[in-house]
């Protein structure tokens, strides 16, 4: 507690850094995983290898990945961009399969009826497939969000500041309170992301809520 009361401005700043690394990575993961997942779901023959490859990304050890990304993208090692790209790679690994499953969860009869009444392929995607995929997709995004927030701490190893800095610094200097603060703040941030996503889900999928409330007194036809 004493450590925290003396160092809270640093903790606030590192929390902000942490947020600015994880949020873009989560967003990028979603933006990339959705089209890839959709493609995989629509073209199963292409989709199989694609999903396999995506899952394999998760098996790349973090440190080599952090070293190889600057080489490939021509950016400095100790930059937020390196970290965001690495996190996006892991996010994709987790999310692409879920995204494919999410589109697979859409009732084909609903999709077909939508086509039959005159939705173009584009409007089928935006007005039917995407909104109906949201519940499954969101479950996957929640996993990615929590995983990303926790992975950001690795950045401390290559000197990208985040709450992970408290962990490395605390260990090196033997300050348990600093380590504990790092762990707890990271977990709180993960919980915060999760709460935001749950709230977003409520807003984006009002029909799933009202299905639970369907046993309202029902007036039949007038």
């Amino acid at each position: 507690m004493k450590w925290l009361s003396l160092n809270w401005p640093q903790v606030v700043e590192l929390t902000r850094d942490h947020l600015l690394l994880s949020a873009p990575a989560i967003l990028l993961s979603v933006l990339l995983a959705v089209p890839i997942g959709r493609l995989a779901q629509q073209r199963p023959r292409l989709g199989g290898p694609l999903l396999g490859a995506a899952s394999l990304l998760y098996a790349i050890p973090a440190l080599p990945l952090l070293i190889i990304i600057p080489v490939i993208f021509g950016i400095p090692l100790r930059s937020p961009a390196t970290m965001i790209i690495a996190l996006t790679v892991y996010g994709l690994a987790l999310l692409v399969r879920t995204a494919a499953d999410a589109f697979g969860s859409v009732d084909p009869r609903v999709r077909e009826a939508a086509v039959a009444v005159g939705h173009s392929p584009r409007s089928v995607f935006w007005r039917v497939d995407l909104p109906l995929a949201v519940p499954v997709l969101l479950a996957g995004v929640r996993v990615v969000a929590v995983s990303t927030v926790s992975l950001v701490t690795i950045g401390a190893l290559i000197g990208v500041p985040s709450l992970g800095t408290l962990l490395t610094d605390g260990f090196q200097r033997g300050i348990p309170a600093e380590v504990a603060t790092g762990v707890i703040a990271t977990m709180l941030l993960a919980l915060f992301f999760d709460a935001v996503l749950v709230a977003a889900g409520r807003i984006l999928t009002p029909w799933t809520v009202s299905r639970r409330e369907r046993l309202l007194p029902q007036e039949e036809t007038t």
Binding site: D107, A114, A116, G118, R214
Partner: protein
């Protein structure tokens, strides 16, 4: 007017679902395709809005081959009602009804107002407009399906066993509602059912299909019932069923119609 010209459809790895089917559906009339499950009714219906492309033969609407039409524009110009509603579960009832007008670029508010009026026309309380389809009964969903099909005021309505999944009392109400609507809409309707009584009730003309989309008989309900073309039709329409064979008897000075098993079915109007 819809014309089927020698339409044949063979699905991959299947025997022929529809073979050499020709039929003219005159404008402003209701033609019912009736046949048992798997006789190719849905396949035929779906060749009209290009959800199914015939293997050979063609379908014309007002003398134009539907293949000349852009499929999306074609489908928006045709009302389509499905057995299970086919409503979008994530859109409100009003938005479901307004689907095609909104896709066609009608402003949302205007489309919703029109949708609300349609709700009343199909016999629903405007209050249900804000609900989601999952919150409605089966019968209410089918009414919404009909309202959606009417929203862009199409000339043609395709109805694929629209009342097949609702209970008999509700089905009867829906059938009456459709007759009432058609009496002042005069759409060109192709209606598909496996229920002979429904076919005879709704059809100006009825086409009895046998397996493989082959026409067993076509004609007005009276023609088919009065003179079934063969044993298949006689059997299918139940021309020999006891309740179809009516006799007249006098009871207390009134003329009563009774069926073959002696059950009274009605009183002859004076």
């Amino acid at each position: 007017m819809i014309e089927f010209e020698s339409v044949t459809k063979t699905y991959p790895g299947q025997t022929t679902a529809v073979s050499d089917f020709s039929l003219v559906v005159p404008s402003h009339r209701t033609v019912v395709l009736v046949g048992s499950s798997g006789s190719g009714k849905s396949t035929l219906l779906r060749t009209v809005n290009r959800m199914v492309e015939p293997t050979s033969g063609r379908v014309l609407i007002d003398d134009e081959d539907v293949r000349e039409r852009d499929p999306v524009a074609l489908r928006r110009s045709i009302g389509y009602v499905l057995q299970h509603g086919g409503l979008l579960p994530h859109r409100s009832v009003l938005d479901n009804i307004a689907t095609v007008p909104v896709l066609n670029g009608v402003p949302k508010r205007e489309a919703r107002t029109a949708a609300s009026e349609l709700l009343e026309r199909v016999g629903l309380d405007p209050k249900v407009g804000r609900r989601f389809p999952g919150q409605l009964s089966g019968g209410q969903q089918q009414r919404v399906g009909v309202a959606r099909a009417l929203a862009a005021d199409p000339n043609i309505l395709l109805m694929d066993e629209p009342f097949g999944a609702v209970d008999p009392i509700m089905r009867r109400e829906l059938q009456e509602e459709l007759l009432r609507l058609q009496a002042d809409m005069h759409k060109t309707i192709v209606f598909v059912t496996h229920d002979v009584d429904e076919a005879f009730l709704l059809g100006d003309e009825v086409v009895v299909l046998r397996e493989g989309g082959v026409i067993a008989q076509r004609g007005t309900p009276a023609e088919i019932l009065g003179a079934p073309a063969d044993d298949f039709v006689r059997d299918f329409v139940g021309a020999d069923r006891a309740e179809r064979e009516l006799h007249i008897t006098e009871v207390d000075g009134r003329t009563i119609a009774v069926d073959a098993s002696g059950r009274p079915v009605g009183v002859l109007a004076p």
